[in-house]
Symmetry: C3
Subunit: 218 residues, 3 copies
């Protein structure tokens, strides 16, 4: 079961990576590579931390989603104005699935719930972070105009709760992933935010250096 | 003993990371994340190279310093003009402690002294490097207007010397870390430098592309 | 045999890294560090994926090439106008050797040929990618005006073919590496390209955001 959800999550992230490559004007191999890093990066980091040989390299099937994503983006890229919005939607879908599967995998390795949720968050945000770092842009993760990691935390925590209640089946996985996805998209649409890193001075100094990331897109 | 010094070093680096997040206008979770990566990144890289499961994920206590740092920065952020200087001071304090503890840990694993010092330097500069790469700025490590890695090398070498003399106790650790910290700060204040990467042409061509990092801050 | 080729490849990549440091105006330790990351990064990532303790830290000889490269660049840096071109030439030489040795090492670990070629490509492009990410520039890997990863794929595939034919000796290694090097340089000189990530819209919208990397240099 874990593998199917993993593959779907990898596909969503890979599409986000390939769309980012299209937006930056990279070529099709760059698209495949960036999609692969986005889709597989979070899981590889998670497995290195669990001190396992990454599952990715043992099962070649893991490379199918990035190939499919690069071909789809090559064939059906919409107008460039919509690209950034689409990157965000696919990224949110991958985030929803990965924070659940990452937390599950850590719980299966008998990690305590707090560390398991943290590893779920790392799996969820890791791929997109690598994508942005490699593309030389400020990571979406740090955009203060919406919420990101907190959605993954919420999904991971729900996963840990249902796991400890021993109510865990594919329906629960899909429900938690969908809820996380919806929270992330709603935060983009309605501009939900959490407090800035610095409590008091920021509001008083409108000339402070702004986040150089994108404005709201919804 | 190693754990206490590790936690203090993580705290210093985490404050540097959270202050950088405040300076860039990230939100409080971005601050926690960037502080966590800065504080824990060097140690995780060190443990992956030692082929150990990172200690960070086995002991949840390692996550306390980043949480404390993000809250402190949230509550007590000074005026923005002083932020970059504070990042540098806390970063220097972390550098001093980490180059000592990283070298010690490698020596405990029976690495030869040269490789042990190198691993100490990697532990010391790794967190700040990850912070700068993730924040999408040119790493401070490469700023040619002061010295950085050479201070860590000095601290690591002293550690290896005292270790081989079997004179090693908390006082020695604190003394070496403080000395390293002082060298780094003095280099910032007095603009100490070492030769540039290219020996002869650079001085002859003032129009060469300059380092895009910050000017002197002290 | 593998070690000699590895050291030569590390040297080529380290020169590319140190030249990049000279071009960006870093100091000599920054040059050593960037050369070391460029030369050793691909191999360390490959060994972490193979779940081995990186060979780099077991044999101090691996640190000789970066030291030599930093000294050479310090002593003999040519005029700055030629620096970017030289970075590309040494990077191509390292790419040729690493895609062969990386594929060989994975085949020795009994990976299937497809994954082995992929690991060869990762070894080949990994060092340069880390160099560009750490230097805060958009990776050369993604430059759509020439080919890069596809040359490494070609070299890795030839390696897997000759390996399965059991015709494998130093002459074959040098021949494949030279061919890969020649393909990469020819693509720079003649502007060979492959299709962009997005099939149809890109040609229709010349105002699309261009790759911010360098223009052709040959």
């Amino acid at each position: 079961m874990l593998i199917v959800f993993d593959l779907v999550g990898i596909f969503f992230f890979a599409v986000a990576g390939s769309l980012m490559a299209a937006r930056r004007g990279f070529d099709i191999l760059g698209s495949l590579f960036l999609g692969g890093v986005t889709g597989l990066g979070g899981g590889v980091v998670r497995d290195l931390i669990l001190n396992e040989s990454p599952a990715t390299f043992a099962h070649p099937i893991y490379f199918a989603p990035p190939v499919l994503a690069a071909l789809l983006v090559y064939g059906f890229t919409p107008a460039i104005q919509k690209l950034h919005r689409l990157v965000l939607v696919f990224d949110a879908a991958g985030l929803g699935l990965f924070c659940v599967t990452g937390t599950m995998k850590a719980l299966q390795h008998n990690f305590n719930p707090v560390t398991a949720v943290l590893l779920g968050v790392i799996s969820g945000v890791g791929g997109g972070l690598l994508r942005d770092v490699i593309s030389n842009v400020t990571p979406d993760l740090f955009n203060p105009r919406d919420i990101y990691a907190i959605a993954a935390m919420f999904g991971g925590t729900l996963t840990a709760v249902f796991w400890s209640l021993e109510i865990f089946n594919p329906v629960v996985v899909v429900a938690i992933a969908t809820l996380t996805f919806a929270i992330r998209l709603a935060s983009l649409k309605f501009g939900w935010r959490i407090p800035l890193a610095a409590g008091h001075w920021y509001r008083a100094s409108p000339s402070a250096p702004p986040h150089d990331g994108p404005q709201r897109h919804f």
